[in-house]
């Protein structure tokens, strides 16, 4: 058993000349919940996408569950281990497919049994009743769509979940339900989370440690309780914390 289920070392991602990830290193222990915060455009989604094989990295190393990966190729097995919830549920859910199809597809690919039961349970878990099963995704509200995306990631019972702003489209009551659900799933199944959010309240609630990103780099990695004690060195982290207290008219 390796201690770190996910290890990223000196990862570089380029888009033409633009350096989106600049030697990023992150280690996440098995069963840990790891947060990523940072300003818009700092490379948070790019990091998750590179881990998931959706962006190529041109330098550095990636290892998951002791296995090394490069480029964009990922085995079928990889997707049973790692699932991702995207920031933009519109991009990830085909609008002309029913919720049923969207949930069935991954189950079929990976040869799961009891598909009916699994689909019903998954919908139930994310607070969407069976009434939504045969809706098309373009017939759903923003938050309903996000919940379908979460259900689809959980339905394969992965070990590692990459969550990109999973609740930023949800109202507080449904956010609370989803966060509880995610925490429970983590406890029950020993899941590991890597979670991007701009909401420091959510990160401090869900994560044990977090990385702060800026301009394609990780500028610091701190324990979550450091937020409470305001014990961190980067100015940006301080700005984030002040800003999270709400809008002030000047």
């Amino acid at each position: 058993m390796t201690k770190n289920v996910l290890s990223v070392k000196d990862m570089v991602v380029m888009f033409d000349e633009f350096v989106a990830l600049d030697h990023v290193s992150v280690d996440v222990a098995t069963g840990e919940s790891f947060g990523i915060v940072g300003e818009s455009g700092s490379g948070k989604s790019t990091l998750l996408r590179a881990v998931a094989g959706l962006n190529t990295f041109s330098a550095g190393a990636l290892s998951i569950n002791g296995q090394s990966y490069s480029g964009r190729s990922r085995s079928k097995d990889f997707y049973r281990t790692v699932q991702m919830v995207f920031q933009d549920p519109y991009g990830s859910l085909h609008p002309r497919q029913t919720v049923d199809r969207l949930l069935l597809e991954p189950l079929a690919i990976h040869g799961f049994d009891n598909v009916d039961q699994r689909i019903m349970r998954a919908l139930d878990e994310v607070g969407l009743g069976s009434g939504f099963r045969f809706r098309y995704s373009h017939q759903l509200s923003g938050g309903q769509r996000q919940r379908v995306a979460i259900a689809r990631a959980l339905i394969l019972e992965p070990k590692v979940l990459l969550l990109d702003e999973p609740t930023s489209a949800l109202d507080a009551s449904i956010q609370a339900e989803i966060l509880n659900l995610l925490e429970q799933a983590r406890k029950d199944r020993g899941l590991t989370f890597v979670m991007v959010s701009h909401d420091l309240g959510v990160i401090s609630h869900m994560c044990e440690r977090l990385a702060v990103m800026k301009g394609g780099k990780v500028i610091e990695t701190v324990k979550a309780d450091a937020l409470e004690r305001r014990d961190f060195s980067a100015d940006y982290t301080r700005q984030l914390l002040t800003a999270s207290e709400g809008f002030r008219r000047v």
Partner: protein, 278 residues
């Protein structure tokens, strides 16, 4: 009130679906002056569909009715499609919840904003480009020149939202409907973007409907807040009085936010009562 921009009375929107009719909006009424009105509410409660109905973006197969849907003296349900198009974009603009989805994937961001501008104003391409770059800068895009030439899939989530805001503000609308305009933005940028919207309301007298699920944000930013639940407005409050909310849904919302330093596992959740949806 002569300053009134918008009157909505008994607005209803419903969709036929395979499993029966979905009533997305069930009799919403409110008025708007040159102010900031917040709409919060649970996911699926009809916030976006309310905004879309005002904007004239309700899907064709849906049924939409209202006793009154009046913008600056015009009956929005009675005017011709052509008049609608003239108002849309120029006088009423809407930042859609799904920014990237609403951008054209095969055209660069710069080209799309210029196009919007040229549909409504007669100006040279050079001037349009200059204004586009200035607008991108105003919404705190760090390197406007680079973003100008990117395609929608090449920008981050937060950049996409700001691009949409820039595109909607560039024609100087009198009414802006912003549907979750800042939900993907990190808090520091979020506040900068709100600052821009705030200035437009204060200086140009724009009316703003700000749809958000973030109560904390709405109460610090808007003058008034409507709370929606299951297609209806269940409560209307001055923002300052949010903590005095009466409806159990609103009260519940205030209680289930995770905050730094509070250790509540699991978070309290709402016990939704059937009668709330009556």
């Amino acid at each position: 009130m002569s300053d009134r921009l918008l009157t909505v009375e008994d607005l209803r929107v419903s969709f036929p679906t395979r499993t029966g009719e979905v009533q997305a909006v069930r009799g919403v009424s409110f008025t708007l002056g040159r102010e900031r009105l917040g709409i919060v509410g649970e996911s699926g409660s009809g916030k976006s569909q309310t905004g879309r109905a005002i904007m004239g973006l309700t899907p064709k197969h849906a049924k939409i009715t209202a006793k009154t849907l009046n913008f600056a003296g015009r009956d929005l349900l009675a005017i011709s499609d052509r008049e609608r198009r003239e108002i849309r974009g120029k006088r009423i603009a809407m930042v859609l919840q799904d920014p990237k989805y609403s951008l054209n994937p095969v055209s660069t961001i710069g080209r799309q904003i210029i196009e919007t501008l040229k549909t409504h104003e007669r100006i040279s391409t050079a001037e349009a480009k200059a204004r586009t770059l200035a607008m991108l800068e105003a919404v705190q895009i760090r390197d406007p020149e680079r973003v100008f030439s990117l395609y929608p899939h090449e920008v981050s989530g937060g950049m996409g939202q700001r691009v949409m805001i820039a595109m909607m503000l560039i024609c100087g609308p009198e009414l802006l409907i912003a549907d979750e305009p800042t939900s993907a933005l990190d808090v520091t940028v979020q506040l900068e973007v709100l600052g821009i919207l705030d200035k437009l309301v204060a200086e140009r007298g724009m009316g703003l409907i700000f749809v958000s699920h973030d109560l904390r944000l709405v109460s610090s930013f808007c003058d008034r807040v409507l709370v929606m639940y299951a297609g209806r407005v269940v409560e209307e409050l001055p923002s300052a009085d949010l903590s005095k909310a009466q409806h159990p849904y609103t009260q519940g919302l205030l209680n289930c936010l995770p905050t730094i330093g509070s250790d509540r596992h699991p978070l309290p959740v709402l016990d939704r009562k059937k009668e709330w949806a009556l």
